[in-house]
C-alpha cells in the first residue's frame, strides 16, 4: 500500500488555543550539562514589520550531541529529563526568546560531523506549510566543515548563524527574515 502524505495547511492566527499545551521557551531542566544560552530574535515580514502571530519550534541535541530519540544510537550520555524541544509564540512585537544549552556536534552524512545547531520550524498565518531553518553558533570553528552550511551560498550563510551580544557570548540574537535583504535561508528537508 502506498499512501500520500496529508497536505499541510496554515496554522492560522488562533493557534495558541491549541498549541498552548506544549509551549516552552525554557528548555533547561535541573542538572543539565552544557553552557546555558539565550537566543532572542524577531520574525519580520516582507515589509520589515514584526510578525506577532508566529510560532517557533526548536529541536536540539544535548551538550554531548545526543538526541533524546530512539534512533540516536550514539554511545553518548542521554540526559533523560531533557526533551530538546521548545515551542515559543512571538509576542506583539514579533519577538521570541529561547533559553537552552548549546548542543554538542552530531553526526552528518558519510562520516562528517555537523557543527552544533538547533533545528527550527516556523509556523504562521500566511504560510500554508512550515518553514524549516537552523541556528548555528558564532565563532564555532566547526561551522567551516558543516555539511549543511556547505550547501548554502556563502553570502547567505550568515543568516543561519546567531550573533553574540558584545562581551556576552551566552546572549545570542537571531532573526527570522521572511523576505528581502538578509532573507533567512530556509530548507527543503
Amino acid at each position: 500500500m502506498k499512501l500520500q502524505p496529508t497536505s499541510s495547511q496554515t496554522v492560522g492566527p488562533f493557534f495558541d488555543i491549541g498549541l498552548r499545551r506544549f509551549c516552552c521557551a525554557d528548555l533547561l531542566v535541573p542538572g543539565l550539562s552544557g553552557s546555558r544560552i539565550t537566543i532572542e530574535g524577531r520574525v519580520l515580514d516582507g515589509n520589515g514589520l514584526p510578525v506577532p502571530d508566529a510560532v517557533v519550534e526548536v529541536w536540539q541535541a544535548n551538550a554531548h550531541g545526543k538526541y533524546a530519540h530512539p534512533e540516536d544510537t550514539q554511545d553518548k550520555p542521554l540526559e533523560s529529563a531533557f526533551k530538546g524541544y521548545g515551542r515559543i509564540a512571538t509576542d506583539d512585537q514579533g519577538r521570541f526568546r529561547i533559553t537552552t544549552i548549546k548542543p554538542g556536534p552530531v553526526p552528518g552524512p558519510r562520516g562528517t560531523n555537523q557543527a552544533p545547531h538547533l533545528e527550527i520550524s516556523v509556523f504562521m498565518r500566511g504560510l500554508l506549510k512550515r518553514l524549516v531553518t537552523r541556528i548555528y553558533f558564532p565563532d564555532d570553528p566547526r561551522n567551516g566543515a558543516d555539511p549543511v552550511l556547505a550547501l548554502v551560498a556563502p553570502e547567505r550563510r550568515g543568516t543561519l548563524i546567531a550573533k553574540a551580544a558584545p562581551g556576552q557570548p551566552d546572549r545570542l540574537a537571531w532573526d527570522v527574515v521572511l523576505q528581502g535583504a538578509g532573507e533567512t535561508v530556509f530548507f527543503d528537508c
Binding site: P5, S7, Q9, T10, F14, R130, D188
Partner: protein, 267 residues
C-alpha cells in the same frame, strides 16, 4: 555511478526530479546520506509558500529558493512525548466546563499512518477549532458571534498502539475573514502532529464533506493536487456515529514514510 544508483533505489522518479530541480546545481549526489531519510512529497500534493489568492502569503512567503538538504540525524529524530507529557489528556471537548457546549455533537476519529500504511502509535495529536457559532476563544478573534462559556475548543491526545485517535467535540461554525470581499472559511478543525521525526512534523486542517465554501477557500485550494485536497475532507461514517448521541467523522492522517534503504556505504 554507484552514488546515482543509490538515489534511484531510494527515490520515486518524481522525487528525483524534485531534488534535481530544486537544487538546480547538479549536486544531487551530495544528498546521499547514511541515515534512513523520509520521502519527499510528489509535486502538487503539498502547497507552495506563495499562493497569492491567500493574501497574507504575499508578504510572508520566502522569495529565495529553498536549499535542499539531506536528512541527517537531526531530521530523522524529533521530539517524543508520552502519557505523562500530555496529562491531563483532553479528548472530550464537550466536557471541559460545567455545562455542555451548544452545537452538533460529533466524534472525530481516524488513524495516523505513514505512506506505507504502517500505524504511528503513541504520537501526539493536538486540535483546535471555533465554536458552533464560528468564534474562537482568542483575544484576536473579533467576529461578531457569541462565545460559548462551555467551549474552549482545544484538545490533545496520544494515538493508541494502532495509531488511532478519537476526539468528541461539536461541529465548528464557518467564520468570516478579511482575505477578500465576503470571504468565509469553510468549517474546519486544526490538527497538529509530530510523528516520529523532525521531518514528519505536520500542521493541517480537516474539512467537512459537502461544504459549499470549500470551492472558494484559498487555504484549502492552496494545495494544487485535487486528490490531495479531497483527502483533507473527513468522511461521514455510520460506524463511528453513536445512536442518540453524536455524528461520526473519520479522518486519517498520513505522515511521510521512510526512504527504502539507508544509504550506508554509498558514496
Amino acid at each position: 555511478m554507484s552514488g546515482f544508483d543509490g538515489i534511484l533505489k531510494i527515490c520515486s522518479p518524481d522525487c528525483i526530479l524534485a531534488r534535481v530541480a530544486h537544487n538546480g546545481r547538479g549536486t544531487a549526489l551530495s544528498l546521499i546520506t547514511d541515515v534512513q531519510g523520509y520521502r519527499r512529497p510528489i509535486p502538487g500534493t503539498q502547497p507552495e509558500y506563495l499562493h497569492p489568492a491567500y493574501v497574507s502569503s504575499i508578504k510572508r512567503a520566502p522569495t529565495q529558493p529553498l536549499v535542499v538538504i539531506p536528512h541527517t540525524l537531526s531530521e530523522v529524530t524529533g521530539p517524543q512525548f508520552g502519557k505523562e507529557d500530555i496529562a491531563p489528556e483532553i479528548f472530550d471537548l464537550t466536557r471541559q466546563h460545567a455545562g455542555e457546549p451548544l452545537g452538533e455533537r460529533m466524534i472525530v476519529t481516524g488513524r495516523v499512518l505513514d505512506e506505507d500504511g504502517r500505524s504511528i502509535p503513541h504520537t501526539v495529536v493536538e486540535i483546535w477549532q471555533a465554536n458552533a457559532a464560528g468564534r474562537y476563544l482568542h483575544k484576536w478573534d473579533q467576529h461578531n458571534a457569541p462565545l460559548d462559556p462551555n467551549f474552549t475548543g482545544s484538545g490533545h491526545t496520544l494515538t493508541d498502539a494502532e495509531g488511532r485517535y478519537r476526539f468528541i467535540t461539536i461541529k465548528p461554525g464557518c467564520y468570516p475573514w478579511r482575505n477578500h470581499y465576503n470571504a468565509w472559511r469553510p468549517a474546519h478543525i486544526h490538527f497538529s502532529l509530530f510523528g516520529p521525526a523532525f521531518a514528519t512534523r505536520l500542521v493541517t486542517q480537516m474539512y467537512f464533506p459537502g461544504d459549499p465554501l470549500l470551492a472558494s477557500d484559498p487555504i484549502f485550494n492552496g494545495t494544487p493536487d485535487e486528490a490531495a485536497r479531497q483527502r483533507l475532507i473527513a468522511n461521514f461514517d455510520w460506524e463511528t456515529t453513536v445512536p442518540e448521541t453524536a455524528l461520526g467523522f473519520r479522518f486519517d492522517i498520513i505522515l511521510r514514510g521512510r526512504e527504502q534503504t539507508p544509504m550506508e556505504g554509498k558514496a
